[in-house]
Symmetry: C2
Subunit: 189 residues, 2 copies
DNA sequence: CTCATAAAGCAAATATTTTGCGTTAGGTAG
DNA sequence: CTACCTAACGCAAAATATTTGCTTTATGAG
């Protein structure tokens, strides 16, 4: 019986996961983090609390899982013709997303997770974007910093401010970080 | 009756806080984060759980409070005669501290706190160090980046890696960040 | 189709968190 | 120094959340 909801062909386990994630997402729009609880989510998802506890361990891990799931790159970052432009374009929409109440919650939930693995994935996400944009630049023949320098020069300050001081995570500062990082493109390691 | 334990003259409230913090610190050396609980801490501190719930709200906030308390600068960062040297010296001991199991827990606990205020304090801590070292440099007549550029160029990548990829938070990379940040000291904003 | 297994349901047992109310410590004014 | 006043604490009952042992069910392999 592979056809159940015509949705995801993942079997029962996948259906449960989807139902729970969905329940979390819906509840998050209505209630604040403080008033979310596992039994409540379980009820909305049509499963028993013990299913959630056995699978995710606790509320924090579940929320982190859901948030990380949402982080997937929706689509390819826009092409602007230059590395600086690509970085600015991608970064602006990312900042916009992450300074919103929803985005800030996502970041919080992810950081609150004890699982090292989760932060790892979060980092890889940024790294993939940087690698993608950098490769485009290389293809165009631009001289570019290493992916590592892009992480340190752009992703790091962006993330730092999103976490510690979201009001200062602005497009203007982003330009600054990009300019400085690209200006040292040819400084050897 | 101001003299009670000859310890801190803060009155009952301060005594309770100290007892609870102390209990947390002791338990943390013996048990893992998973097996810490409010009732357990309360018992060790000689208070009732409701006292802790009323004052801190929940375990996560209490742990964050204790961790942040430990973050206070023990003493003035060492003088080396140059900004690069001061940054490297301070940074190395900070990396050392924060890559340790204890340090990683502190960071986790702080990031898990919902209180924006706490992260704020965490940021100010870094900012104070940078401001201090920068002022020394100015006094010596060195040309230096702004405090903000130091935050973005040194603190941000350091923090990013401590949080997301602690194995790569190394003194060698620190030198790299410092060198690149100081090399753009005279680039106007 | 049948069997083996992993995941879910259920419900009882624990543990934690919240709450109402009485008590105490510390501060302040008289 | 004494007599309040208030914020914080203790206590214990009630409400919730979490864990756990056992049963049931869905899925995939043979």
């Amino acid at each position: 019986m592979a056809i159940k909801e015509a949705a995801r062909p993942g079997g029962r386990s996948a259906r449960v996961q989807e139902a729970v994630h969905q329940a979390v997402r819906e509840l998050q729009t209505a209630k604040s983090r403080e008033q979310l609880s596992v039994p409540q989510i379980a009820h909305k998802a049509g499963v028993t609390p013990s299913t959630i506890y056995r699978r995710w361990g606790n509320l924090a891990e579940l929320l982190a899982d859901v948030s990380l799931d949402r982080l997937r790159p929706d689509d390819e970052p826009p092409h602007t013709g230059s590395l600086a432009g690509d970085l600015q374009a991608w970064g602006e929409q990312y900042l916009d997303e992450m300074t919103s109440p929803t985005g800030q919650c996502m970041l919080s939930d992810i950081m609150a997770s004890a699982e090292r693995e989760r932060r790892e994935r979060c980092r890889r996400y940024g790294e993939q974007i940087m690698a993608c944009l950098q490769e485009r630049a290389v293809t165009r023949g631009e001289t570019t910093p290493s992916v590592e320098d892009l992480m340190d020069g752009v992703i790091a300050p962006m993330t730092y401010r999103l976490l510690y001081e979201p009001d200062t995570a602005t497009p203007a500062r982003l330009s600054h970080w990009i300019a400085q990082t690209l200006s040292i493109a040819d400084v050897p390691d």
